[in-house]
Structures are given as C-alpha cells and as structure tokens.
C-alpha cells in the first residue's frame, strides 16, 4: 500500500513505509544491476530475498547468483565486475571477513561495484545483532565507505554509490554501510522515485574502460606485480581516494537537487557554538540528536558530529566541525583492541592533530557492542562526559567502555546436572562387530523402549521450533554412540537453539565454529587429543568426536569437510539436511531440490523456485573413499541408531565417517507440524532421499521402498508441503518432469551400485 504526493520541480516520488533492507532492494531494482552475487547472512540477507521476490514478479532483470559462501560471492562479483557491468553484493559480520581477502583484489585492480554491509558484530562468540566491528575491519581495503543512517539514506546512498564508484577519476568499489537491525529492520516513512528511469538516468550507462569481454582488445587483468611496481599501483589507488573526496560532495549535491535530500560528508548538528560534542556514526547519531536537543533546552552548549562517509575519511570537514570545540567524545561501536580507542577515535585524533591551533580534548568510549541498545539517555550521559572534559583542569578518563555491567556478585555458579559418565551412556543397547564373511560391520540394536535407558546428551529446554526435525535425528543418532563424546556444531539452527547464553543444552563438551570451518576445527581437536595421548599427557580415556552441521554448512564448509575426510581423522560428521538455510530464514541451499520455493528462490511469473538440482553430498563424500558413508531419516525404526553405532565403530578404528539425515522443517517446508515423520518418510519412499550406506566402497540400499511396495511418485511428496506443491500445477509441469527424471536417474544409478560391488 503506497500513497503518492507531488513534489515541486523534481520527478515524482512515492511516500512509502519500508525498512533499510527493503530500501536497498528498491534502489537496486531501480538501478537494474546486471548481477548480484550473494550469500545469506543475517541481517543483510533480506536484500537478496527482496530482490529475488521482485525478480520472480518480473520487476527487474538483475541476475541473482546464490554463492557457496561469502568468499564465493565476492569471487562471483569480482568476475562479473571484470566483465564490465554493474554488480551488487550484500553481507554482514563474518561474511564480510570471509569475503575480505577479495576486497583488495577488487579495489587494487580498480573494478567498481556496490556492496551493502549491514553492520553486525563479528564472532565469536556469535552475536547476530548490530555493531561496527565488521565495517571497521574494512577500512584498509581500498573501498569507498558511505554510511546510511536510516532507511531513507540506505536508498539515497545506494544510488549515489554507483555514480561515485564509476566516476572516471575514481573507479573504485563502494560499500554502503547501514546499522544491522536498527536500520536494516526498522520500518520508517521514506520516499523514492516512482519512475525507475529517473534513477537510471541519474546513474547513466556504466563506463567500462576495461572489460574481460572484448576479444578484440585482449587485456591481462591482475598481473604478477612485485616491487618496484606495486607501490605505484597503490599510489594510483590513493589518488583515486583523493579524487573521491572531491567527487563525493558533487554527487551528493547533484542527488540533492534531484531528490530534495542533501547529504554532506560530515553532518553537524547544533555545532555552531558547541563547547562539547559527540562524534557518532549512523543510527546512534540520530538517536543522539534527541539528547542534544534535551541538553540544549537546558542551555548547555553541546552538539553532534557525524560523518556520512568514512572512506575517504573526511578529515578536513571533521577538523572544521571541531575547530572551536573544547571537548569531543568519540563513541566507537567497535574496539581496536589495544589501540586505546576505536578506529574512529584514532582517525578523529589524527585529523585534529593536523591543525596546530586545535586544542580539542578527545575522550573515547566504546559503546553498544553486540547490538546493545543505545538510548537517548545514553547519548545524554556521553554528552555530559564531554561537557566535563570541556572544563579546563578537569580530570577525565581518556578511554573506557560505556555500558558494561559487572554481574551479580552474589551469584554462585553451580552445575545443574552432573556430567554423564561412561557407564551412563554405555547401556549395551547397541553392539557393533566386524563380520568377516560379509566384509562389513554388523550392528544389533535394542528396540526404542530400551533405547530410552540411554540418557540424552542434549538436555530438553532448547529453543527449536515446534516439530523441528533436527532433534529427533540427533537424539536417535546419539543413542547409537557409546561413551564419552565431544560435539562440534557448525553455525546453524542446531547451534543457535541449544546455546543461547548463558544456557546450553549440551550435557557433554561442545564447541562451535563458523560453518565454513567446523570439520577443520574438529580435526585439529582430534589430533590434539591423539598427540596428548602419544606424549602421555592425557589419561587414555576414549572420546568420540562428532561434528553436527546443517546442509548450509555443507555448502560453505565443503572444502573444509573434504579436506578433513581426505586426511582421514577419526571423527564422525553428521549432516542434518533440511534443504535450506533455515537459521537465517529459509534461503535456498544447494541441497534444496529443483523448483522448491525458498526466500531466495521465489515462485512467480518470471521464476519457478530453485533453479538447479539438489546437491548429492553423500555421493561427494563417498568419492573421498572414506570407509563409511550413510544416509538415514528418523522414522525408519532404529536405522539411524544402527548407522550411528557403525560410524562409531569406524571412528574407533581410526577412520572418518560421514552421515546425512533428511531433517524436516515445518516452518519453512510448510506442513502441519505433527505430520513430520510422514513427510520425511515420503521423501524416502519417493526415492528423492534414498536411504543407504557405502561401506568400504560397497553400496547397500538399506531401505528399498520398491521392495517393500511403498514407492510413491515424487509428486505425492511434493504435494505434502507448501514449499513444493506449486510443482503440481500445469505451469510447472516441465520442472516436475525434470525433478522426477533426476530422482529416477540417481535412484537407478544407486541400485546399480547396490548390485555391483565394484561401482
């Protein structure tokens, strides 16, 4: 729902109610970038989601490329940029850090693009909320960094970023940074041009002095360049930044005359006679204006300085703003640990030092880390601190944290539950032994009733959604594992819902690492365990090491996983495949089947759900020639328990084992929670998810729906879920046929492998 109003002399703008992420998407749609390469990470994900939804509706032509990780996304964007078109990306926090290696490549070879950084706290511990610890890491990458303090600025900066970066004297990539959640997820009254052509005219045709797509003018992009040449390349980059300092105000002004919204590199608020000032970035600066007003009403001479650009750092304008201020409090939403101030403190101090007449006292505070809310009262306290610093001779603390809490000294830490003993978890419910004749491990498992005697290694009280498929699978799997266990969870739903501080559902030792690196991390832990045993530093107590990951972690963490498998560390990897990035809100993963609807594979006139087939991770892992690979689901009796016991048998023998379970997600698959077991069994019975094991290279289908007379058409399973039932409609007939054929091809191939020990 949108209302419109006329604005004199400028093109028509729509008044709308949108959040920052939506405004980034509106700007991108109007610009009509050639390509967006992206990877989901909270809180920036919505930008790609919005754009994908608009794409499905035919509202733009941006080619949306879902990457295998942020590093991959940055690579996709770089490749697209050397092709001489307009390119967009969006990321946050560790996603930015994971991509960071690519950032100087992009700026050093001088290919403009736009990256929305929706700022968020960098792990670890993992925190999804907003601070500036990510964007501060990007200061030295050679990218222009524009700040967007509210949803309106997100739109405006995104449009201007294209012009600034592509300016012939600049030719640099540009980051637009907005505060995660505070700006990205807050709906505000905003305005944008009704006719996208206004924006397209403003940004004009892309200038492409260099392109990798002109066979008549071959160029070498990215040579091998040592001394004495590289310093000159970097000097050119420096000159481009200097040029940007001149270009940015011009573009800001041009946009102002078109839109009526004027920006300056540095915004001053009530600074005309301010004796004390606050220096803040983005949303907190807006909040602080209310505090400035309040203190001004008391007659106190306070003001606010807040940049809209931090690369190039507008040093001259900052000097000008603070030339007569007695004291400035620079509040950083990220620390540069050990530097006696955050990065903005250091830069403001450096800027002022260049003015020999400046005597402004600089006070520095770190605030709002991990998204801790910033209230006008907080700004008021900081302003009063600055005022104190403005008094000559008054003592002040130059650098400190603001808003930390000591905790309750009365609190006694005690364990809620005793540690599980080896005896607790060795109840004799599973028995695994090598069967020489069969050339396989044989496992016997007691029934579900007896399995309840094994205490859960994961306690109740976790925060998963009702009907979550992860936890029955984990429970069944861990019933099959005896003795001590160390768990490592890669980032994902399973991790987030079991370890919300200060709670943990894990009754055994648990480690988290980000999902591109869990397998490497666990392999390091395993080797430390073995080395300590070898050196006699550790009583030889047996531990089984298990990594748990979602299917998303099998995309971004594939390299790490394959590496660990090839090295063959004694550990088990269990993948819960819920066919998407459910933790970040149901984006497609490579495991999402063809045609399925997710928040980045919408269904509409111009798009028909996921564009390519589901990843066959079990076969990829089988190709590493580890001795045991299995697939299973909850609801096949004790199949998963049996396979867990087998995996442990191999791990105990010093081998790597991998298993994949299909795990339902009622929220994103859209079916009634109670029917979860039926839904997952239907996926098996339609052969989309075959249940089998590959043991020492020999494939055995352990549950064959055909032999049991239970085979159903794929369409029957698809019809059970909101995410896929559109595939039964005539307009999606071709997609359904493609999916059926692929399922059948993979199933037949598997049967052939089952029949022939050499396959």
């Amino acid at each position: 729902m949108v209302t419109t109003e006329a604005v004199p002399k400028t093109p028509f703008q729509v008044t709308d109610f949108k959040k920052g992420n939506e405004m980034a998407a509106v700007a991108a749609r109007q610009i009509n970038y050639h390509l967006m390469g992206y990877y989901p990470i909270t809180p920036s994900t919505e930008i790609a989601e919005e754009l994908d939804e608009m794409y499905a509706e035919g509202q733009h032509e941006i080619r949306m490329v879902p990457a295998d990780g942020e590093h991959g996304a940055a690579g996709i964007c770089y490749g697209a940029a050397v092709g001489g078109g307009r390119v967009l990306n969006a990321t946050s926090a560790n996603g930015l850090l994971f991509a960071m290696e690519q950032l100087p490549v992009q700026s050093g070879t001088r290919f403009p693009m736009v990256l929305n950084v929706v700022t968020r706290s960098v792990s670890g511990p993992l925190d999804i909320r907003g601070d500036h610890s990510d964007i501060m890491m990007a200061l030295n990458c050679g990218w222009i960094i524009l700040l967007a303090r509210d949803p309106q600025a997100v739109y405006d900066m995104n449009v201007m970023a294209v012009r600034i970066g592509e300016h012939p004297e600049v030719r640099l990539p540009v980051i637009v940074a907005a505060d995660g959640f505070f700006t990205s997820h807050q709906k505000r009254r905003v305005r944008h041009f009704k006719d996208p052509q206004v924006v397209r005219d403003f940004v004009g045709q892309p200038l492409t002095p260099v392109t990798a797509l002109d066979p008549h003018n071959p160029v070498t992009i990215g040579p091998y360049m040592n001394d004495p040449d590289l310093i000159n390349n970097k000097y050119q980059l420096h000159l481009a930044m200097e040029a940007a300092e001149k270009v940015i105000p011009l573009i800001f002004r041009e946009w102002g005359s078109l839109s009526g919204r004027y920006y300056l590199p540095v915004e001053e608020y009530q600074m005309q006679d301010a004796e004390a000032a606050l220096f803040l970035l983005n949303s907190a600066a807006e909040t602080a204006k209310d505090a400035v007003d309040r203190l001004r009403a008391e007659g106190l001479p306070v003001g606010l300085v807040s940049p809209n650009v931090i690369r190039p750092f507008p040093a001259a304008a900052v000097r000008q703003a603070l030339r007569a201020t007695r004291s400035v409090l620079i509040a950083d939403r990220a620390d540069s640990y050990g530097a006696h101030g955050g990065n903005m403190t250091i830069e403001v101090k450096a800027a002022l030092k260049d003015d020999p007449l400046n005597h402004t006292r600089c006070i520095s505070r770190i605030y709002g880390l991990g998204g801790k809310d910033f209230y006008a009262e907080d700004a008021e306290k900081l302003l009063r601190l600055a005022l104190g610093g403005a008094k000559p001779g008054q003592a002040y603390v130059a650098f400190d944290y603001f808003g930390v809490t000591p905790g309750n000294p009365e609190l006694k830490l005690s364990r809620l539950q005793p540690a599980l003993t080896k005896a607790d978890t060795t109840q004799g419910v599973v028995k695994a032994a090598w069967d020489e004749k069969a050339g396989k491990v044989k496992v016997s498992v007691l029934g579900p009733r007896q399995l309840t005697s094994v205490p859960g290694r994961i306690a109740p009280g976790h925060g998963a959604c009702p009907g979550c498929g992860i936890f029955p699978s984990l429970n069944q799997f861990l019933k099959g594992i005896e003795g001590h266990v160390v768990l490592l969870f890669q980032t994902g739903c399973g991790m987030v819902v079991t370890t919300g501080y200060p709670y943990s559902s894990h009754r055994v030792t648990y480690v988290h690492n980000l999902f591109q690196n869990g397998a490497a991390t666990l392999s390091g832990l395993v080797e430390m365990y073995r080395e300590k045993i070898r050196r006699g530093e550790y009583p030889h107590e047996e531990i089984t090491f298990i990594m748990v990951s979602g299917d998303g972690g099998m995309d971004i963490g594939m390299g790490s996983l394959i590496g660990a498998a090839l090295r063959g560390h004694p550990m088990i990897v269990l993948e819960y495949d819920n066919e998407g990035y459910m933790n970040t809100g149901n984006q497609q993963s490579y495991a999402t089947p063809l045609g399925h609807a997710t928040s980045t594979s919408h269904v509409g006139p111009a798009e028909g759900g996921k564009a390519f087939h589901h990843k066959d991770t079990a076969q990829i892992m089988a190709a590493t020639h580890i001795p045991y690979v299995f697939t299973s689901v909850e609801g096949l009796g004790t199949d998963l328990v049996r396979k867990a016991a087998k995996a442990q048998w191999y791990a105990r023998k010093g081998s790597f084992a991998y298993g994949k379970v299909l795990s339902v997600c009622p929220l994103s698959w859209r079916y009634e929670e109670r029917t979860g077991t039926r839904v997952v069994k239907a996926a098996v019975d339609c052969c989309l998810f075959p249940v089998y094991e590959v043991e020492n290279g020999k494939t055995t289908i352990t549950y064959n729906p055909e032999e049991r007379n239970k085979r159903i058409p794929v369409s029957e399973w698809l019809g059970m879920m909101g995410k896929s039932k559109h595939l039964l409609k005539p307009e999606h007939a071709q997609t359904l046929r493609d999916l059926e054929q692929e399922v059948e091809r993979r199933w037949r191939r598997l049967k052939a492998m089952h029949d022939h020990p050499l396959l």
Partner: protein, 368 residues
C-alpha cells in the same frame, strides 16, 4: 464494518504522547502468532493511510517459533522526525498476544496510569485485570484465539481489531486495506476471512477503565541486566553448566494444544521418545515380573513441550491424545525431571518465579 461510516473521523492527532512526541505501542507475543506483521500493518496504515509519521521494528535474535518476541510501533505527528532507535519501554498501549506472557515479570511494567492494555484471553474484564495485576488504566479483552480458530485465520488480525478500537485514534479503514493488501497477492482467498477476523476483534473486544484503587501497585520499568557480567562471567564466553536449558519453562511456546498422557493405555513402546523434538518424555527404570530391568514411561514433562503433537501422531495405542490447554491438565500432566529450584535458577535469566515441590523419586513438581 465497524465505525467507518463517518467521513473523516480520524485526524492525525494523538491522544497522548511522550516528551519526544510519540504515542508508543508494544506488542508482546511469542514467535508464530504474527505480532511482527501486526505491528507492521498497523504502523503502515497509520503512516500512509492516516498521515502520521512513525516507525516499526521488532525485537530480533535467533529466536525460533515459540520464543517470546516484541513488536514496537511509534507514531507521531506528520512533521516530526523519527530519530530514536531504541525499544519501547513505556507503552501507551500494550498488547499481550498470549496471556501466558503475563507470567513473565515486567510484561506490564512501565505502563502509564492511563495506558491501554489489550489482552488476548477468554477471561472476563475483572478476571483479566486480576491476571494482569493492572494497577489502573484501560483494559481491553478479546478472545482472539477463539476468533482465529473459528475463522481459520491467525489471531494477529483479531488482535489488530481490538488494538485499533482500544487506541481510539487509529482509523480502522487503512488498517483493513493494509490487511487486504498483505494477503491479496499470495493468498487472495485469505483476504475475506482476515478482514472478518479483524472486524470481529474490533466488535468483540470489551474494554473498561480501571481507576487506581490501590489493589495493584504500578511496577516501574527496569532494564534487564545480566546476572553474569565482566566481573563474574567465565572468560571466553564458555558456559560451564552443561544442560542448564533444562531450567527453562517453554510452556508458552504451545499454542493452545498439548498431548495428554493416558497411562492405562500405554504399552511403553518408546516411539514417542524417538519422535519427540523436545525430549519431554520421562522414563523410569523398573524391574519387571521376571526380575529384568525395563523402562516404563512416566509421561511427558510439559515444561518443555511445544505442542507439535508428533507423539500423538505416532502413538500406536492412543495413549497420547490431543487436548486443549486448560490449567488443570497442565498441572496434573506435568512431570518435573530435574531440580531442585535453586540449581535451576543458578544461571537462569527468565525469572519465572515458579514454586517447586519435591516429590518421591527425587524429582520436583512445579506448583501454583
């Protein structure tokens, strides 16, 4: 259609505002009830349809469906700038989407003496006031769950109807248009039932002003401060208390239904335990007639049950049945696995001041 026949009854004027000029609203809910969407629609309607200015956002974390969430709406005059980004702590209107949230201390804290409390509950106004411990102000009660069940919709649109009515300044027409617009693209068949749900919420909501009578004392808002801070938190963010989520009470995640256990029908097959995502089933080790150790199901610990009913679906003998939540069921059906209360609260921050009683067999039952 309620109260929209007059031509221009709703000017862009706020009945109350704080020192920054905002009328502030907070919707307290649990994930899945649609409070976030309700807040968005309301703010959108008031801003684009009624000419006010304002903002909407929600509390965000990695909470999943069933976890407590808050949705914030700020409204101000058309010419005032919105600059604040912090959560609403002193709402002029508080809407509680799930009455179990009233158990969480602080839900009603920070209300002004004349604030409006909108509550989704089947209670009478007097009973609801007791439940909410409301010192004074306007109380508005609507049985939104019931309306949603009858209309086969979600209760958020019924709550919106009640909220709009209770606000006494928000024009229902733009809200209805916003509701229709939110459904018409993807779920056109849901437009009518949702508008009906909204209208019923509007019409069926009952409200009364309670003057301050000293029966309940106002509770000032206090910001949450963690028990563990820089002086006492273990270094590196580790949690040295394995499995302490067992101290949590997740009953509020259920949306009105739960599995009732019938011991007399149970064959102790263990399938419920195999399928349960929330590990609610408590088993006892017994010695059977032949002197062999065996497992006997004591029942579900409903403290952790989120009401997915997978166990009801899988139970071969109907020893678990789907029931509507009623207090007497919850308490008789509850089986407490871990205790005692002091240990439970050691690292707790969700201060449900539950009372516990030790039972035979070294477990504790929550009472009262």
């Amino acid at each position: 259609m309620p109260a929209t026949k007059k031509k221009q009854p709703f000017a862009a004027v706020l009945p109350h505002s704080n020192e920054l000029g905002f009328f502030e609203m907070r919707f307290d809910s649990v994930g899945g009830l649609g409070a976030n969407l309700a807040g968005q629609l309301l703010a959108q309607a008031a801003i684009l349809g009624q000419g006010l200015n304002g903002a909407h956002f929600s509390s965000y974390g990695s909470e999943k469906k069933g976890s407590p969430v808050k949705s914030f709406v700020r409204l101000c005059g058309p010419d005032r700038e919105v600059r604040t980004n912090s959560p609403v702590e002193r709402p002029h209107l508080l809407a509680v989407f799930h009455s179990c949230l009233l158990k969480i201390p602080g839900t009603c804290a920070g209300l002004y003496p004349d604030s409006v409390l909108v509550l989704n509950a089947p209670d009478s106004l007097d009973a609801a006031r007791e439940r909410a411990r409301l010192p004074s102000g306007t109380l508005c009660v609507v049985n939104a769950l019931n309306i949603a069940v009858e209309e086969k919709t979600r209760l958020n649109t019924a709550m919106l109807g009640a909220i709009v009515k209770a606000s006494r300044f928000i024009d229902p027409e733009p809200v209805r248009r916003a509701i229709a617009a939110s459904f018409e693209d993807r779920y056109p068949h849901m437009v009518k039932p949702n508008l009906k749900t909204f209208d019923r919420g509007y019409l069926e909501a009952e409200s009364r002003e309670f003057p301050f009578d000293g029966r309940f004392q106002p509770v000032p808002f206090s910001r949450y401060e963690p028990e563990l801070g820089y002086a006492n938190a273990p270094i590196g963010g580790i949690i040295p208390n394995p499995g302490n989520t067992a101290a949590k009470d997740l009953s509020a995640s259920r949306q009105g239904i739960f599995p009732l256990y019938h011991r007399d029908r149970c064959i102790d097959c263990g399938l419920c335990s195999m399928t349960c995502p929330d590990y609610v089933f408590v088993w006892d080790r017994r010695v059977d007639d032949n002197g062999k150790a065996t497992q006997v199901l004591r029942g579900p610990n409903l403290q952790y049950c989120k009401g997915c009913l997978k166990c009801v679906e899988i139970c071969p003998v109907e020893a678990l049945t789907e029931e509507c939540e009623r207090p007497e069921f919850v308490f008789t059906g509850d089986v407490q696995l871990w205790g005692p209360p002091d240990a439970l609260n050691t690292m707790g921050r969700e201060g449900d001041p539950a009372k516990w009683e030790p039972q035979e067999g070294n477990y504790w039952t929550r009472v009262g």
